[in-house]
Symmetry: C2
Subunit: 341 residues, 2 copies
Amino acid sequence: MGRAERRLTVKDVAEAAGVSPMTVSRTLAGGQNVRPDVQERVRAAVRELGYHRNENARSLRPGQSSGLVGVAITNISNPYYSTFALGVEEEAALTGRRILLGNTGEDPEREDQLLRDFLGRRVEGLIIVPTTTTADHLRGAPDVPLVLASRVVPGVEADHVVLADCAGAEEGTGALLDAGHRRIGFLGNLPGIFTSSRRLRGFERAHELRGLSVDPALISTGQQDTETAAVAMGRLLALADPPTAVFCANNRNAIGAMAEIGRILASGERTAAEMPELMSFDDFELSELMPVPVSVIRHDAREMGRRAARLLLDRLDGGGDSASHGYRSIELPVEVVRRTR
Amino acid sequence: MGRAERRLTVKDVAEAAGVSPMTVSRTLAGGQNVRPDVQERVRAAVRELGYHRNENARSLRPGQSSGLVGVAITNISNPYYSTFALGVEEEAALTGRRILLGNTGEDPEREDQLLRDFLGRRVEGLIIVPTTTTADHLRGAPDVPLVLASRVVPGVEADHVVLADCAGAEEGTGALLDAGHRRIGFLGNLPGIFTSSRRLRGFERAHELRGLSVDPALISTGQQDTETAAVAMGRLLALADPPTAVFCANNRNAIGAMAEIGRILASGERTAAEMPELMSFDDFELSELMPVPVSVIRHDAREMGRRAARLLLDRLDGGGDSASHGYRSIELPVEVVRRTR
DNA sequence: CTGTTAGCGCTTTCAA
DNA sequence: TTGAAAGCGCTAACAG
């Protein structure tokens, strides 16, 4: 119904309530110094007309904030990131803020555009999962607080929350090695990505600590989605001396690897017993029901979102206090859940 | 570095470039009627200072739009909705718009707040997955175009895009019945929800068409998450005469049901052969690898997001033209993928 | 307790 | 081609 031709303003409400715009403004701001009966009249007019104040105009006044937090993630449809976004949204909502969400798709240029746009919309702060390790745009400008999540960019000083990538990968890999595995494959995404390289380092370190070497032929990186991960898994399985276990550095690679295993099982060429077991950095739903054992390195993406938001909100609301201490760094723990045949 | 103390304005740029604010504005708007060399000077100053215009102030002028689309979904962390959001974001980004994302958590009150907030931020349009069938807040006001997705609210006239819930559920259920199943369980979310009731209707209709009746004891609704779905599944399995197949009306119920099956298998009390097979409305990753066959009713959430965005953008950019014809209704097809033992 | 004035950053309109 | 003035909707600061 009633698509208002002209947007309503304080003036309209003021007129309807028989008061001045200022009284309307004060009432809407909480009602300080406005007689209760007048407040009631104003609120009635607001309801009647269906008025809601223009937050953009409001945020134009100095000292008024936009109530917006810019969130840039690399892939909304990855459950890991969407759960992360949920955590940010929840925490931001607690302070009455909304999130402006953008998808970078691992494209530094899109990330750059996104950030400029966010700033243009006067977000109070930024929470981003950076796409790249070159960070000119990040270093360049942000005149608002910035929080990095999941990945850190060298040279950019900012609050950040990351996972215990290296330690988790080392522990998970160690569990496989200690169980007797000697040929362990590695599937990861782009090598330049912070989490990737940290997880690979953990993988390697577990070997080193035990005086074992890693066969480069078993390492495949660069898979960003489940399709390419499945192809990479196929290559590992086709080796003359295939791995007896495969470490998947994220859920995309784990899902792809598992799908490839499923394909081979369905073809009847090999049995589940002949297939490598998996270790997945990132738990995923029903991972416990797979035809081959899937151990997982579990963590809480939602909590990571909440913590990232907290870091930001502390700076925004904590006043000069929290702003004074240096950049804060949070490393969230991960939990290795081992599953065997 | 350089956290600007005072935000930069056109004036600062104008001063730096030795021109008037208007010239800066014109240059940034595309450069109509500005000498090329002057434009270059302005752009240099913009780069130099790291200026970006205040979109909020900009959108204050009449005729200027905010470039924002409000998106309210019920649960970001549900892959179905996050993929939907991705589709919306992609399509909106094509026209230079951003999405303001909010999570309602199936709470009508939060939805209401969210919409008011969105309108206050002068979104150009709204795309929402409504939480409820009572729609006073929806009918009430929206002075911007509204698109409903996934669910429709009776009495609210708005463009919408939904799935072929009823037909899909009927086809899926029919496939089970035609395969000889006579006791089919049903797990769904809140009965009041549009998709739920449509899918239940399809389930029932498949029975009716074959002259079969549905045992009410096999129908369980109200499960919103995987935990409660697992409990409900447990109850079905504990019946004296348990179902031989279970129809899960969405991915949350399917995942929960499957988890429960897995738990029982792990306990060794029963074998996979003794477990019901599943029919899931919503595909999910690796559904083909489950210990019992999972047939899926597959659809494209991302496409639904894109289509919803298109409906909205057509009204926004299509001018009075598209605004003239009545509300448009899109029903996206689903595909039943049958898997058997 | 209430109203008036002024101005946030931007751009449309009009004049130079 | 450029600039000056005016005002979008709102609210601090200052009257009254």
